[in-house]
Symmetry: C2
Subunit: 321 residues, 2 copies
């Protein structure tokens, strides 16, 4: 398989897939990143055409792990150099990626992916073969996805130690806005507000540290994911602003803030006891398989071991390339 | 010394002060809490007059560790039964406590305190002798505080392993609103928003977990601290709402969110490198000592070992009672 972009996520996919016994090679734009990967014993080049040519020859799964702004030109090169390879990605916003993939004419070989893992650090030096262990890895089940490509992406996610959450791209983006992009903006607002108040850093303890941890993320990464998912983010941000403004008005009028506090506490407890039943009764490629997976994912279901496909039973998964 | 209220904070003070070699006894309203403390070998009663009578006989430092709504009647009993004892507290809001202390006529024997430590759990069973180790413990330096009482409160905080941050009550409350009460409301809003979006719990990972951790705190504790500090909290909440609304408008208009993201990142980095120089050149009780400590605390200064007092040098601190 071929990983395009060897930053935190792409590099960690390269490490994890290699640990799982796969034959992996990759491309990185910067010489420093490619050199660092090579120094750690990996097959990395700064020549995109070389990597894509090798992928085309092997029919390898191509994993796009470049930032959103770099995606369009890369997709055009994939179309020109490796048009028949199955393609997946690891980008945090699925609707915007899908639009670029459609524009590049690669829709039928593409399954969008998003491993929900990360750290505040970035670059090859932060990569970790264990980054995806027990983490959710979303795979899109939009109506156009191909069962064979989906199976390849699923096998990669499972090989990396993740469990797979099947979801429609739009639903993913609204949920990601809520549980990832919104927390980033709240953390930035909290850190900024505290930064202007004398004595606040002197008193800061656990609730401030936890509440601002993700504000340490590189600003360009935060901007990229928030701005690429702007429509969905505005919708959940409006909801959070309504809740906070209500609480603010209650406090200003000397009334209790029980509405917000009780609802927040109840939601967090539901999250703590949220179960993830295994999905094991869907056959990839069978009639209605995409809608079945979307419904199961919406209900909390996850894929922990490879599902069978209509053409190849689970006992005999496709050989990883 | 005498601890009134043996919940998470009061009980942990009892454990920490005992570990430091002090003679500690306490009162708890509920039989269960007092029984649990006694079962762990501590001197605890459910008879408030008995505890206060013993404190009066010994001239013991009284530590008020009851929730805000229970404070006024307790203060009246302290005034009636132990009016000459030095008194401190461990409540998260200092202005409101000061008003109650003033109303009870106990101002001249009182120094407000606030150890900035806690967990999402409460009650005696959550107590921990190490809870305050390396945590900030605020002591108020309002204009009326007595040097001798201040020294006793300082010695207790240091005995518990904390470092002391001197601050005016008002400044403390604004900072506490920012770094403790605001994060709680943001966490409640984040958890509530996510709770209404299908798929969000299924995708939640680190940034959601961290951002909602304090939403697991008992709602009555969150309400008590937010509502008791409503004025200051409204002020910082307005600031956070302004920042988030600006970001929302930028996103809706397809403009970058760099203002908020860059400011938040910079503030968090400043916090990560925030240093806490030791205050060691102030003599408690000397001319202008309160203003000197307030200024030093505002600049990040903390007290890590007992300051000398005008009447008793640091080499010979008052014997803990």
């Amino acid at each position: 398989m071929c990983v395009i972009g060897l930053g935190l996520i792409g590099g960690s996919v390269m490490r994890a897939a290699t640990t799982a016994g796969r034959d992996v090679f990759g491309y990185n734009r910067s010489i420093d990143g490619a050199d660092a990967a090579r120094a750690d014993g990996f097959d990395a080049t700064t020549d995109l055409d070389e990597a894509l040519g090798k992928a085309a020859d092997a029919g390898a799964l191509i994993v796009l792990a470049v930032p959103m702004p770099a995606l369009a030109p890369i997709l055009r090169r994939v179309r020109d150099r490796a048009p028949h390879c199955p393609v997946t990605d690891v980008t945090s916003v699925k609707g915007a990626v899908l639009a670029e993939v459609r524009a590049a004419g690669l829709l039928e070989r593409f399954v969008g992916g998003h491993p929900m893992a990360g750290t505040a650090h970035s670059g090859w030096h932060a990569t970790d073969a264990g980054l995806f262990v027990d983490a959710p890895w979303v795979l899109s089940v939009d109506e156009q996805v191909d069962g064979q490509v989906w199976t390849e992406a699923m096998t990669l996610a499972l090989d990396c130690g993740a469990f797979v959450v099947p979801a429609l791209s739009d639903e993913h983006d609204l949920a990601a806005a809520t549980i990832s992009h919104l927390p980033h903006l709240l953390a930035e607002a909290l850190a900024t507000t505290a930064g202007a108040i004398p004595l606040s850093f002197a008193l800061a303890a656990g609730s401030f540290r936890d509440g601002t941890r993700v504000a340490a993320t590189a600003p360009e990464l935060v901007r990229a994911m928030c701005e690429a998912n702007a429509t969905q983010l505005v919708s959940v941000l409006d909801q959070a602003l309504r809740l906070l403004t209500d609480a603010r008005d209650h406090l200003a009028e000397g009334r209790p803030v029980s509405d917000l506090v009780d609802a927040g506490h109840a939601a967090r407890l539901r999250y703590d006891t949220f179960s993830r039943p295994s999905i094991d009764d869907v056959v990839i490629g069978a009639d209605g398989w995409r809608a079945e997976l979307a419904a199961a994912g919406r209900a909390g279901g996850v894929i922990r071991s490879a599902l069978p496909t209509r053409d190849s039973p689970a006992e005999n998964p496709p050989h990883p390339r």
